[in-house]
Symmetry: C2
């Protein structure tokens, strides 16, 4: 930088201002500086800038690196929006475990990130949240949002979307609808469960709690839970799986049991995925606007970074129902 300044006949500070556009520089001078930079092949040094500016233009993302299209799209949304805002993004894997999550977040904090987007793991309130309280760093919660918490958060309309799907199943004549609920402690799980109840209530259909089985949000849990449903004295005529993984497990169970979908059993599920179209029959799913959720999270984070005192905002984005054949409708 010094060399550039010398070559352009200006001071280092002027070069800095040209590089960053941080204050008016006479066009002629600016041109001289830029020319000098080109000639000398000047390379900006972000690390030094970070140190000098006391800011590294970096935000962190704490998320589970699961092989799930939903997460990938979410990450893409966050990354895209961060890039647009001129922010770098560092991603850490929480392994969907609160203790790992806390360690990962501590790591991010040590790197002096200026903001954090977090998709919390079960139990985060006890380990990670305190960490965030100690270090006054702006953050926003995505996906597993928690209405009780007065923080910025972005998620999907779990309740409404689930209720809409259940409505549909009820409209098709089902009165015994099984549900594979997600792991307890996740707000997404309880909200989707609530949607189930809401739909039943407004249709005047009583809920048989035997039809609600915990699939632990995993593929294996889904498989087991599906078997439980099939072995009920009075099995359901339709099943709703509250996430991706459980859907996979459940479908495997149905297939193993020789249960034909949708002839013997109607099926619908939360979380859309590319393969949903390919199963026989095509799977009726709830598609989350993952990328939009991610983008919105970054926007909220920016707002908070600029205005730490702003009132917390909880955003819900609508989901889209991908209507295919597994619910028993003649055609999509």
């Amino acid at each position: 930088m010094t060399e550039v300044a010398r070559a352009a006949g200006v001071s280092v500070s002027t070069v800095s201002h040209v590089v960053n556009g941080t204050r008016l520089v006479a066009p002629k001078t600016r041109e001289r500086v830029q020319h000098a930079m080109r000639i000398l092949g000047y390379q900006h040094h972000p690390t030094a800038r970070s140190l000098a500016a006391g800011s590294n233009q970096t935000i962190g993302l704490a998320i589970t690196a699961a092989s799930n299209p939903y997460w990938v799209e979410l990450i893409q949304g966050i990354d895209g929006e961060a890039t647009r805002a001129g922010l770098n993004l560092i991603i850490v894997d929480t392994r969907d475990d609160a203790r790992h999550e806390a360690a990962a977040v501590a790591n991010l904090i040590a790197h002096h990130i200026e903001g954090l987007v977090i998709a919390p793991a079960v139990g985060w309130r006890d380990v990670t949240l305190p960490l965030l309280r100690d270090h006054p760093i702006p953050y926003v919660v995505v996906d597993r949002i928690d209405p009780d918490l007065r923080v910025d958060q972005v998620g999907v309309e779990n309740e409404a979307a689930t209720a809409a799907v259940i409505d549909h199943l009820i409209a098709l004549g089902h009165t015994r609808i099984g549900m594979l609920t997600g792991i307890r402690g996740l707000s997404t799980s309880s909200e989707r469960l609530r949607g189930y109840h809401v739909a039943h209530q407004r249709a005047g259909v009583p809920v048989d709690v035997d039809l609600l089985v915990d699939g632990l949000s995993t593929s294996d849990g889904g498989r087991r839970a599906a078997w439980e449903l099939l072995e009920l004295r009075e099995p359901p005529t339709a099943v709703f799986a509250a996430n991706n993984n459980m859907t996979i497990g459940a479908l495997a169970a149905f297939r193993a049991a020789g249960v034909k979908v949708p002839r013997d059993l109607a099926v619908a599920a939360f979380d859309n995925f590319a393969w949903a179209d390919l199963f026989s029959p095509g799977l009726t799913t709830v598609a989350q606007p993952s990328a939009a959720i991610g983008a919105r999270a970054v926007q909220l984070l920016l707002r908070r970074m600029n205005d730490p005192g702003a009132p917390p905002q909880a955003v819900r984005l609508p989901a889209e129902i991908m209507h295919r054949e597994s619910c028993g409708c003649p055609t999509r």
Copy 2:
């Protein structure tokens, strides 16, 4: 740090050495320093360290952020190994496009990364490779490896794995085996194609080039290519899809055409995925050791960073064939 030094009655440099373990410090002194750090709540500042050390302990990864389990596992492998080595990882999305890739890599270079892992896009030799030549930064290529290039690279045994699957199909009596080849210009594509030829050759089965159709490595391309095969005057009795996406497209096409797998047509594919088990029938696939590939790549990178003059090494990891029903075998 100055304060800590004062409190402990040592110099700043000693504090630094205690923090980093970069040279012997008498146990008594070390204890004093650590105590002072605790009392004062000293927080290390990685950015300042990067500046001072002229190194930021960061490596970059340029990869397409596609929603594909293979990539996710690869990233996990790289990230895990990097963490183990005490390196930070910055990921950029190439969007699988050479020009974006070049920009992304330039960005990484601007961030003064010390090493790069790259899963190159088609056409990278013309735009990204020159960039890498200009800036003498250690790098290793993963996945799309290029035997002509004298650089460190890690990939799977595409040829052998493909040949093994084709062997199997031939052993089952198929002599007209269609193949959905990947996009031209990708080494993975040509290697898998070569595997196809090798298997035919050693079995003495002639190859009908009409059976080789370009699926462009995409889902849509796979769909179209599959249709082409079905519409052949003399259609194949078995089909091998050279990647994940094309498999999805092809299966959709077969289903739309009313072709039953494996009754009417045997199917096998490169790239394993969680859902492979759930299709009716289960899909016979080639599973890549993605995580291992990623880990190995980081190891090669470390070696090169430590010893820039070392001879380039090309590593091939074996694939595993996941034998399911779609190939027409009675049972797995």
